[in-house]
Symmetry: C2
Subunit: 357 residues, 2 copies
């Protein structure tokens, strides 16, 4: 019988914790000492495992649903797992190639791209996939067009450098002179190109006088056009595969289900929440650009017993949106991180192709 050094002790503990997490992720049932002893080659008796497990419980890594049940990993355990133990998987080559082909093939329209992406995320994860496209606030203005539909109706089209297009029809009480429109368009394109939308609107409001010196009576008109066409929109939130969560044993009881539905129902809220949460400092780890938020790490009470794996996607080196998956805490983090990472790269590439060509 050999005496274990402190290092060995800790190492064993870690391996055990890993085993528990693994098993729980697989089965969803609290894992007991005997089960563990037989399933994993730990060469220890159930009794010993019980001792170590109770230590782990004291340290806050495991918890007991009730006295006579096996152990369940806590948020802290998952966090430890993600940070220190987990190996980030790679997608199977086949899978990756198929995805790559799909993205190269038929991703033309930005909305389709986002929709398919959230579907893809859902399909790969078997959980809920989401994509958050922020409003244009952060995007930079690339091009402005003002198209007279009728004398009193103007179609304003704004194109951002991220390839997003926003349009807005503005109706006036009196006809808008074409010359005025031309001037305004020139002004807009000269002055505002490259500026962030939010800034552009303000600049525009200031500069609108320059043009209205010639068309004094049109001042208000220009103001209104600026105000309405540049009004902030809130961005889109795509959510797919919400149903898949309901088949999981994790969300079986009525209450759980109810709150889940409620959560998913409020898409808009959810989008805001996620984007806010993600905007903050990412819990660290070896996860490249991918963030993992486990259970109570999510500020929103609705997400308290879920995990979110997310990553921002990038155009021209700038992060412009967020995508990821929503699933039970008990998820295969290593695979999920790989999925989110891969998809976020693909989306970034596709957007790049759409805007830079």
């Amino acid at each position: 019988m050999r005496i274990l050094s402190e290092f060995d002790q800790e190492d064993r503990k870690r391996k055990l914790l890993q085993a528990v997490i693994h098993e729980y992720i697989k089965t969803g049932k609290p894992v007991g000492s005997a089960h563990l002893a037989s399933g994993y080659r730990l060469d220890l008796s159930p009794a010993t495992l019980r001792n170590v497990m109770s230590e782990l419980e004291e340290e806050g890594f495991l918890s007991h649903p009730h006295t006579s049940a096996g152990r369940v990993p806590t948020d802290k355990a998952y966090r430890f797992y993600v940070d220190a133990i987990m190996d980030v998987q790679h997608l199977a080559r086949l899978e990756e190639e198929r995805l790559d082909r799909e993205y190269k093939a038929r991703m033309q329209e930005i909305q389709d791209l986002m929709l398919s992406t959230s579907k893809t995320l859902s399909a790969l994860s078997k959980y809920t996939g989401f994509v958050w496209t922020p409003g244009m606030e952060k995007a930079r203005l690339q091009h402005v067009e003002l198209i007279p539909l009728e004398p009193r109706r103007i179609l304003a089209v704004l194109v951002s450098d991220t390839g997003m297009v926003k349009h807005r029809i503005v109706s006036f009480d009196s006809p808008v002179p074409p010359a005025f429109l031309g001037d305004l368009r020139t002004l807009l394109n000269e002055d505002l190109r490259g500026k962030p939308f939010s800034e552009a609107r303000d600049t525009l409001m200031d500069h609108v006088d320059r043009i209205t010196q010639r068309h004094m009576d049109l001042m208000e008109m220009a103001r209104r056009l600026a105000r309405e066409a540049f009004s902030t929109n809130e961005g889109d939130f795509y959510l797919e595969g919400a149903g898949s969560l309901f088949s999981l044993p994790d969300f079986q009881n009525q209450e759980e289900m109810r709150s889940l539905v409620h959560l998913l129902d409020e898409k808009t809220h959810l989008g805001e929440m996620l984007s806010k949460e993600m905007g903050e400092t990412a819990p660290g780890g070896k996860s490249k650009g991918v963030m993992v938020r486990i259970g109570a790490e999510n500020k929103s009470p609705g997400l308290r017993n879920m995990s979110v794996v997310s990553s921002s996607y990038v155009v021209n080196g700038r992060p412009v949106g967020l995508l990821g998956i929503l699933g039970p805490k008990r998820m295969e983090y290593s695979r999920m991180v790989a999925v989110v990472d891969a998809v976020s790269r693909l989306v970034s590439q596709a957007l790049g192709r759409m805007t830079e060509k």
Copy 2:
């Protein structure tokens, strides 16, 4: 003792049926004879009610969940109720005025309009509200604009007479000459104005030669532009308040819930289904433009124990989309019909203002 004429008999039966439906709509629990006798001034003993009810059951208007339970209205009963008994309510004046103000005030952007509308429907009904905006297939082309963003990237903007705008960026391998673009734009606007989108695309493909006689090498380019810019998009489906259904006693058991989630998860499908169903002949009734589909009247299995109250909304006298609510069969049809009718009018008006001014 007076002998009842056949008319009186039938009248009584009808009143009874109405009472049962009413009570069931209110409580959601099978209604028994005693309950009915005490709650409604029918001046009949439970025993008599039982007799009449069993007749109604034979005729297919009522059903028994099990031998010793009260009666539950069948689809047929609801249908009869909607067609023959129900008084279409009016919204309370206050409610209506508030709605009116809201719609007049801040409905500028078409997408906002639709989103708010589905939210409004959900709020008024306490069930799920939906709005279906068809693709542009049916809309007529009003204006086409081709904007060069960069030499090799063209932004095509299509405006329909219903005020919808569709845009699409098309990238080419080689620069597109501005003159060519101008020609194409002129051609498009002259030839295609007023044509339905689907037709426009075909016409365009045919006529594209006319222009490419001058720019032979650009033929393929024009083709591609036409094909991609005019590609059919599928329309949007807005769905709000899905969660509210889950609090209803009607969908409490697991299986019910699961299938409901599944249904709502497939927004796209749902949109198609509804639009298909609604396109067909509306079950008649005194319900103005509002259609009511009860339970199995819906072809889609997922809707079998729900009811759909819907109405199309109109621009320039042409129905261009569909909106309504989705709820349990046991719903206050009279109010729901009023809600859907009112909202559909408001949307039609708002769209009218957006397009005609």
